[in-house]
Subunit: 570 residues, 2 copies
């Protein structure tokens, strides 16, 4: 769509602004229909973002978007409308705020709960420098549960600065928002307990509410008033919006239309669906099985489990640390918690994985979804560090199934495994037979009499290895393939028995600290040569997974070239 | 001291219990005077712990100690009095709760804020199993600021179980407790704002207060009442105690007597003192310098900085994640934040290091204190993972100074370095000249014409290498030594120029993912042989640092043996 100038917006009447909102909403819907992305959350915040741009002066004033998935209207209003159809495409606009993309994006986000802390940091620096712009944190009610928010609120008195916190309350954090903090907000908007504002006042926030947050005639004066109130203190503006506003299907199915992604490929299975099926089957037989999620019941495949086993299913909101410790606590009492979470979000629970789960050697199973390059959501969502940050934690077993069938087998084996287990897997992939397996054992998929063995981890990399092997055999050459289905403990018996001089590791993870380093450590000073494909030491932006994997180091071409070089040496 | 039986305690009158409290207090003081440990926090909670043991039935009932440093009275009352003088000694009692040590310790802790989540997990499992014991989380007002607590409180309604949260409010979290949450508590105990109980009620907690928490005649009935109230809902019992109670010096100097540690050795310097001096000097010249801490101003050496630059000094309470994001926010506005924190506590901010600081490539300097084996505090405090969890983060520079002088030089260089920097260092060590250095460059300390080069990181390991080299030269052999003062970026120019066939790395870190792996990755398939000393894949318990380092893999003896083996091979 056309770029709308700040001057046009600032001078527009409410009816004109409403018209602009319709243009924006259409552009968002049409773009997401093609590019994928976050739909309902952006449809719900069109008026709020337009009002913020009308009342504040960006980029002089600064706005931090919590998580950042709801920034589309902001992008459209900050000179990026003409490029908006490149959204989430490689080389195009990011679906999240990016400082390198525009001066209007003052802080990059992607995970929940950072906005208030970041806004406070920006405001504290402003004060020290004697500057005077305004700083806004825009946060959804789901993120507002995250512990980081309370750490930030706790420090308002200490920091002695002024920011505006806008809580966009649509009642959802992908899954419906749960918990006491959200009850505080709900009781305020329904007028049930106006005294709840004490919670915010206690932390130094002046509370203001707009309960028809898709109505500009209410929003604009409220924002003007909030801006005035900012002269004296921090302000929390509670804005109630409707997720999916303007599109009836999105309004009625906000969880299903939160993120609109690529469809699974032909013959592909969702790993999450397999997780749900296996956990239900396990729970049927074993009363110790419980499932835990941090606000992503559906996308992790747990809807049916939650329906069938409500007492053994825990959605604790966007609280990844708490979920880990809760699992550890349950495990001390003999339960078998399965904690399903995306790879990058598990980074939030790093300390708790180490201390609460692994140091106590408790049987908690981490189901690490969206591992490897996840794609269009970009650098904050690429699951390329999990092998690196899990590989050095004592007591932890790390599994990397080669397909959905093997994933099922590992889940089943995990139920009777007496220690912490992490299983990392991508969104979707190939089905496969469920054959029994032994924890900690790799698998030789193809032996070879040649001097080259490929050790590949996970579906993307094993498929690359298979295709390269097939191509090589077409020209009379051969390589073997090992399925590295466990990174930890390392299968030293199998590795020690491989006769090949050349070992090539392939992994959908950063090169530093992953499978390649583990295999090379084992073979050090043995006379074997170890070569590794994995991601270089860089953050990986948004794009299509296959294209990004190739660009950052993992592809058939790279493997083919590497093997070609070895053959050329004889 | 003698073991006091549960029967004796249960049948004792208040005067008899007071007498027991005096015995306990004397034993704690005398033991800590010899063994080191947490003094004031334990002196303050003697009555509270005695009252809990009187009113509840441990180990049938379960108590989770937040952080766990205040568990001494509990250990003395649970059959471990006769071993108490082994506290924090290798093979002796841990200074923290340990499930493997006693059935009375139901959950291991060490870092802040996990107690409520763990207690909820234990209670949820109890309910699922149809059992009926009580679950208590005992938490200090300092830890109560941590975001994890609010994640746990947020889920009370969801989990629909019953626990007792005892908040031990002594106004201190090592440094004085700061922030809005503590203000809520303070205004309750002073009667200023009784309506503050709404904050807790909103989350589903019944609030009860005991404002003379060192007086058993108030404590005991309050605990009985809390136990009754637990039948209907979760209860928060706010107990005000005096840190250091009973010892006037401890009462008046609670921060200095929070932890009583070993004295620095002859000629040793505290790295933290150097940090404070350098930051003050830098801040004098450069208005962009700010210092951030999570409640440990004194032990990190920042007291003088806070006195001299109060507007540029931020203690945000035990909120490690928030502190990181706050730094990132300030850095986007051109400030130069130095965030000082212990190595293991930085694990809490892992996701924020990756996304907020490094993905945005912001000039935040992490001053990572107590790196390597820290000693008697045990496994939750050993800083042996930081090289592993920092080494794979893109954009991050990782420095490991060889002594206090080099630490100063890196701090100075950091002030004009345009990217994220982590400097890891132990508590105390040797002074040394402050010579200019280049970021990313290692240093050849001793070249050699022999075939063996040692690459050592950090003071402990360089000292080991130096002593081994001296000993070898005494018998006519020689080795070279490289000071690996930067792990990242790796100094490929220097490493590429080393002619030796054998390279030995020595590091005060886990072997997986540290210096050894980085050096071996560089030398892969080069014909060089790389051997590494570092810590095996295990958690390291409490004890004296030198003894533990030796036992877990890093010592002169191990290095000597390794080199001996190489010489034997010719």
């Amino acid at each position: 769509m056309r770029n709308i100038s700040d001057a046009e917006l600032k001078s527009a009447s409410v009816p004109q602004l409403n018209h602009i909102c319709e243009e924006l909403r259409t552009e968002i819907f049409d773009t997401v229909s093609v590019c994928g992305g976050h739909l309902s959350s952006n449809l719900g915040t069109v008026e709020l973002t337009v009002a913020l741009h009308k009342v504040f002066d960006f980029p002089r004033d600064k706005i931090v978007f919590d998580v950042g998935h709801q920034c589309y209207t902001h992008k459209l209003l900050s000179g990026r409308a003409d490029r908006f159809r490149t959204l989430r495409q490689e080389g195009g606009l990011s679906g999240f705020p990016k400082r390198e993309e525009s001066d209007y994006d003052c802080y990059d986000t992607g995970h929940a709960g950072t906005s208030v802390s970041a806004a406070l940091g920006i405001a504290a620096a402003r004060d020290l420098k004697g500057e005077t712009f305004e700083v806004i944190a825009l946060i959804g009610d789901g993120s507002f549960n995250n512990g980081l928010i309370f750490e930030a609120l706790n420090s308002l008195h200490i920091l002695n600065t002024r920011i505006l916190i806008v809580v966009n309350d649509n009642g959802l954090s992908i899954s419906p928002t749960v918990g006491g903090t959200h009850d505080v907000l709900s009781e305020l908007k329904t007028g049930m307990r106006p005294e709840n504002i004490a919670l915010f006042e206690q932390y130094g926030l002046k509370y203001m509410g707009v309960y028809n947050g898709n109505d500009l005639s209410e929003l604009l004066p409220a924002l003007e008033e909030a801006k005035k109130a900012l002269r004296d203190s921090c302000v929390l503006l509670h804005v109630v919006t409707k997720k999916g506003q303007g599109y009836p299907f999105c309004e009625s199915e906000p969880e299903a239309t939160h993120g609109v992604g690529p469809k699974s490929g032909e013959g592909e299975r969702e790993y999450s669906a397999a997780l749900g099926e296996e956990l239900c089957a396990l729970a049927e037989r074993d009363p110790r099985i419980v499932a835990v999620t941090a606000a992503m019941t559906d996308s992790l495949g747990l809807r049916e489990f939650f329906r069938r086993f409500p007492r053994r299913a825990f959605d604790v909101g966007i609280c990844e640390e708490h979920a880990s410790v809760l699992c550890a606590g349950m495990a001390t009492q003999g339960m078998r918690p399965y904690y399903a979470i995306y790879s990058t979000f598990l980074q939030r629970a790093f300390d708790e994985i180490i201390h609460d789960v692994c140091a106590q050697n408790l049987p908690v199973t981490f189901c690490v979804d969206r591992a490897g390059i996840a794609g269009p959501d970009g650098q904050t969502h690429q699951g390329i560090f999990d092998l690196s940050y899990l590989s050095f934690i004592p007591n932890l077993t790390v599994a990397i199934p080669k397909n959905v069938g093997e994933f099922r087998a590992i889940l089943r084996a995990g139920a009777s495994f007496d220690g912490p287990l992490a299983i990392r897997y991508p969104r979707a992939g190939l089905d496969g037979p469920i054959s029994p397996l032994e924890i900690g054992k790799m698998e030789i998929l193809h032996s070879t009499t040649s001097d080259i063995m490929i050790i590949a981890a996970g579906e993307r990399c094993i498929c690359i290895a298979e295709r390269v092997r097939t191509a090589l055999r077409g020209s009379g050459k051969d390589v073997g393939i090992v399925n590295a289905r466990f990174l930890k403990p390392l299968d030293e018996a199998l590795l020690g028995g491989l006769p090949q001089k050349y070992v090539i590791t392939v992994e959908d993870n950063a090169l530093i600290g992953g499978l390649g380093d583990a295999v090379a450590r084992f073979y050090r000073n043995s006379g074997k040569e170890v070569y590794s494909l994995g991601y270089r030491d860089e953050f990986i932006p948004h794009g299509q997974p296959k294209s990004l994997a190739k660009r950052f180091g993992v592809s058939e071409e790279a493997l083919f070239a590497l093997i070609g070089g070895l053959y050329a040496r004889g």
